[in-house]
Subunit: 373 residues, 2 copies
């Protein structure tokens, strides 16, 4: 399916356009409306190799008044979403004479979107930008809502702001070249919307052989549904102040500790979130909050998404708890999103430590069993 | 005089409190209202040496619930308003566990205010901050209005955003230790409000012997009047979109070229702006826009403020014009604020180059004559 939905946040109203093979046609019209004084594409070399020519053609229709686009590509990986890359971006744009009237195009996954969005938010006190996500994760989550920023060694997304894009173009065709492991990571975020808001998503995912949508499946419809959930949350709580947007961190408190205690190398973000949601579900049960077999249903949907990663020998409950403690000391609030029932999440400030420990231990043990099976 | 005015910008409503010897008494009340989860002072070592103890006492009343403040001091000078210092600030705050609930206090001149404000705007996607300006320039101009940011080698304030403070505390007593050259620089910005909006300011300044207010002069009243002008402009055009706030750049297009063509070492910002306003006034006359002797009146008010700098041998019209060209190439709009009459400014996009050249040359020659006198 194709579709368009509008996000009406205080920081800006914009369209999320979902389609297949459509972005190249949609772009010139959007750009004409924005009337940019220049264009700058922010991306990775690997993405430009696959899709750069088509984007170039879309950006350079005959007689386009905005001129030749600038191209700023930086290496893939969360470790490059940092102040160094940002500084290179600023200085490149300045040297090339990119003005306040220009428009930046973020062409990539979450790393590109976060960095390009922050570049746009802070270059000459703010220029406009477009999100052209190339991963499922970015399409259903990070490209919508204007959370932009970079990492520091002391904290992920420690530097950032809120800056809404002018439009989000989610073109499913770009996912055809997405590595399967990236697809699975995106599906973890899709499952998150299921657990938080949408039983239908879970029902579909439970039926998928091997955890992935069967061929011919309407992935566009799924992306649209997830984007609509995200848009609704952003509209109600753009700046993450009222506890609504915080619910989207389901699985993330555990997930972040898993990422940092494994040095950000072992697990992709989606995999860490999948394991984190398993832990949150188990904790919800242990805390007497949840209805029966919350964890069982999580297992069925989430373990198939972990096919590319084996449980490491040297990870244990203690390490993960220490990583959570370290996060807390660095000022990161240790709030947990737990589920009282399906689609009934709530924020919990300080669950009993002994239950947190048990939830982590049980999920790690189950992950090992699953890995051996 | 003492007084308080409220700035009602879309990005936030806040008080500008002008007084003498008052900030230490006002701070605990303001902090109680903000109920911060922590405090971090951003300043220079030289300022903390003079005023740090008093600030510490004001921040640590008995039983204050916000705990011991953190102190982040960086060396003076525009050359330290950069991404390096910013990174040090971020990492310091993270290591110390400073949270999103904390409040940053900018305690210094424009450099401190700009950097601390940007730190506040982007640390963990934004924390609150207070402006405690210690220079006349910061009290009448940079501390009000939320323009925050840092410089890059390729451009001053090239990185930044808009982020309004929770309050501005302008305490005249802090100016008692201000070097006289800094005072003169601040008076150039005061004169700017005179030329743009307020004939009374000019009338007073014309009567000052040696260009400085006589002892016993009500500097508080003057600061309040300038702050009120600034507040009004910020309220109408917070994000510099409608041409209203751009008028505050009177003298700055020339001034910026003067700063960059002399390597940012020769001239203080206020001195460059003073010379820039002289050039803008002369250009207004040459363009047939202004009433007679605009320049003459500028000379009378502004040349006395240049007492600490001699015209350098190696500066000429060509260098200044080249610097403006370079600014233009880097995407900085070369708009001039000209005066049609007193208190009647307007934006002019492209005045004839030959007139710009003449205005620059004549002011440089007049500056040399003045310097020799």
């Amino acid at each position: 399916m194709e579709g368009e939905l509008v996000v009406s946040a205080p920081g800006g109203e914009y369209a999320v356009i979902v389609g297949r093979g459509t972005y190249a046609e949609a772009l010139p019209g959007i750009l004409s409306r924005l009337d940019p004084g220049g264009l700058a594409v922010v991306s990775h070399p690997s993405i430009l190799e696959l899709h750069g020519n088509r984007l170039r053609e879309a950006l350079e229709p005959k007689g386009a008044p905005w001129g030749e686009p600038l191209w700023f590509a930086f290496p893939e990986g969360e470790e490059n979403k940092n102040l160094r890359t940002l500084e290179e971006g600023y200085r490149f744009l300045l040297r090339e004479g990119f003005t306040r009237e220009g428009v930046i195009l973020a062409f990539g996954g979450g790393v590109v979107g976060d960095l390009a969005g922050f570049l746009a938010a802070t270059y000459m006190r703010g220029v406009r930008y477009l999100q052209l996500p190339t991963t499922l994760m970015a399409m259903v989550d990070s490209s919508i809502g204007g959370k932009v920023g970079v990492d520091l060694p002391e904290g992920k997304n420690a530097v950032g702001t809120f800056w809404q894009p002018e439009a989000v173009l989610a073109d499913l065709e770009l996912l055809d070249t997405l590595p399967r492991r990236e697809l699975l990571g995106g599906l973890a975020e899709v499952a998150k919307y299921g657990f938080l808001y949408d039983a239908d998503i879970l029902e579909e995912m439970e039926g998928w052989p091997g955890g992935v949508p069967p061929s011919g499946y309407d992935l566009g419809g799924l992306v649209f549904r997830c984007a609509a959930h995200k848009a609704r949350v952003v509209e109600r709580d753009e700046r993450d102040l009222f506890g609504e947007r915080a619910l989207l961190n389901y699985g993330h408190t555990f997930g972040h500790a898993l990422e940092s205690s494994t040095g950000y190398r072992l697990l992709r973000h989606g995999e860490a979130v999948a394991l984190g949601m398993l832990m949150a579900a188990r904790l919800s049960e242990l805390a007497g909050l949840a209805e029966a077999d919350l964890w069982g249903k999580h297992r069925k949907v989430l373990f198939p998404l972990l096919g590319y990663v084996r449980p490491p020998e040297d990870i244990d409950t203690g390490k993960i708890l220490s990583a959570m403690e370290a996060d807390k000391k660095r000022g990161r609030a240790l709030r947990f999103v737990l589920l009282a029932r399906w689609q009934n999440p709530r924020l919990v400030e300080s669950p009993p430590g002994v239950l947190v420990e048990r939830a982590v231990g049980e999920v790690l043990a189950e992950w090992r069993r699953w890995g051996e099976a």
